[in-house]
């Protein structure tokens, strides 16, 4: 039993580790040296936000591709020059397009992407409440003329016609 729990917690730790560091473990950023404290972290955060265009589902921080290496070096160089994150991102977007960003900017062509889910949720919620509300308010479907006549007949027949009601 203890053995099993230990095994389980080990797998859990492994999973958490993979989720937390998987993106960075593919590549060590040791070669990039910064003099000021905190700059290395800022660099790591910035390249984690940028997409490698070759491998596409990897960030610049995680990718082994040659182009990713070139872009990392370019970002590093620009940071050493004292350029802001914003300037660096603009530099890359001007050349590679919005696709280099993991988080797309909010602009007309991405409105659907950003707001679509909320619109769908709103419309869905509205339809749901309307349907539920109507179910409560409205009486059951009206009887047709034929059904009404039959009901009248049955009622008129009264309690003495027991076998009809059974």
């Amino acid at each position: 039993m203890i053995h099993r729990v230990r095994k389980l917690s080990f797998s859990l730790a492994l999973l958490v580790g993979t989720l937390a560091f998987g993106n960075l473990s593919a590549y060590t950023l040791e070669e990039f040296k910064f003099e000021q404290p905190g700059q290395h972290e800022a660099f790591r955060d910035l390249i984690a936000k940028l997409r490698c265009l070759v491998c596409q589902n990897e960030s610049l921080a995680g990718s082994q591709a040659g182009v990713a290496q070139d872009l990392r070096e370019e970002v590093y160089r620009m940071m050493l020059e004292g350029q802001s994150d914003e300037e660096i991102v603009t530099f890359l977007v001007d050349r590679y397009g919005d696709f280099v960003l993991y988080e797309p900017p909010i602009k007309p062509s991405t409105y659907i992407l950003w707001f679509g889910p909320f619109i769908f949720l709103g419309v869905g919620g509205y339809l749901l409440f309307r349907t539920l509300g109507r179910k409560k308010d409205e009486p059951e479907e009206d009887l047709t003329e034929a059904e009404r006549a039959r009901l009248q007949r049955l009622l008129a027949a009264g309690g003495d016609n027991q076998e009809n009601i059974k």
Binding site: L53, V67, D70, Y96, G97, D142
Partner: protein, 192 residues
Amino acid sequence: MTATTTPSRTAATRAKRRALIPLVVFIALAALLFYGLQLDPRKVPSPLVNKPAPVFELETLDDPSRTVTNEILMGKVSLVNVWASWCPSCRQEHGELMQIARENDVQVVGFNWKDTRPEALEMLRRYGNPYVVSAYDPDNRYGIHWGVYGAPETFVVDGEGIIRYKHIGPVDRNVWETTIRPIVEQYRPQPS
């Protein structure tokens, strides 16, 4: 007939119509997703189209003492072809580029990218040289400014040095005839 429809009858048609809504939604979604399947996520649109080609100044591939700059792009429609000897698709399109350069009034400018000189020159020696000149960019110094992220890529640059189109992947007969050639024709300087 229409005027005398009973209330229950309109309710019935309305219910029937409402039943069609999921079908319509399904068809719309299916069409959208099917459209999405046709798109190639590897083809990232370039923000440089309809902008002046980024400035560059590089050694030529065959002679380190000579440089090639944007000047080469002026006055003539050019195909700027990003290539490398290590890139199989580049070899695949090489024959087509030879033919395009031979048969058309368009200059093919090479952009030798992340390659080594001996290997690049060996490839041209073995398969022929379609390029009026090749710029040599072994460490992606100017490739970054052109937004290059793979090879082959081919830019159509008009006589004013403005990028008009970017093709990602190898150029074959079909791509040339249906996509690139019409653009080249469109921007060819008219004899005045």
